[in-house]
Amino acid sequence: MPADAPAFDEVIHAPHRLRICAMLSAAQKVEFGALQQKIGLSKSALSKQLSQLVDAGYVTQEKGVRDARSRLWLALTAEGNRAYRGHVRALQEIVASDGG
């Protein structure tokens, strides 16, 4: 199967998890607080969504220090990136099918 073959992914299909993957796909790492601020979820709700992505092997977590503050950094794995790209391709196919 090609790297970004169109396919809906069960794990990232949920809107918030899809949005998390979109943000993580645009950088090497994004900090938990920044993700929370951009998506507008509570800490516990974001943690819940992230743990499902981590369990699926789509996201990795890493604790680090920046500006003298301890932070939790999140990154999309290669598998997560592949699943996200495939999901986006599936959405694009639906849109394209509408255009004739």
């Binding site: 949005r19 979109a22 943000m23 645009a26 090497q28 900090e31 920044a34």
Partner: protein, 147 residues
Amino acid sequence: METPSGRRLSPQEAREALAQLAEDEDAVRYPPIPRWFFLVGAAVVAGVALAQMLPPRTAGLVVLPLVVVMGLLAHRYWFNADGVSGASVKLGDMAGYLTVVLGTFAVGWLVEATTDAWWIWIPCAAVTATAVLVTGQRYVREFGHAR
């Protein structure tokens, strides 16, 4: 194509989802950047253009620190803005800007090499600095500015 829940997404729903994802990606890829960043950028490209009027060795000594300073500022305020590490820029989004700036330099080198018109670097500096300022204005309008 069916979703994991077995429901078919309508083209309109798919379109809206894609628009949201693009917005989310951009929120990370293009953080709010201070306005002064673009002023410095304009001064740097103008400086690089004007340095072409100097002897090659001196021009190199002027250009190198300018490029290093701009690189460090971009590293801090763009690619590693607060809460983000290693934001990836889409080359396609910068195509217009890069075409104008690199195209202007190409024209400058061509004109100078074929006519010895050293003064060509003055309008080149003005054009490239304007391109940075216009791009910065559009960027701030679309993605906001940081303090």
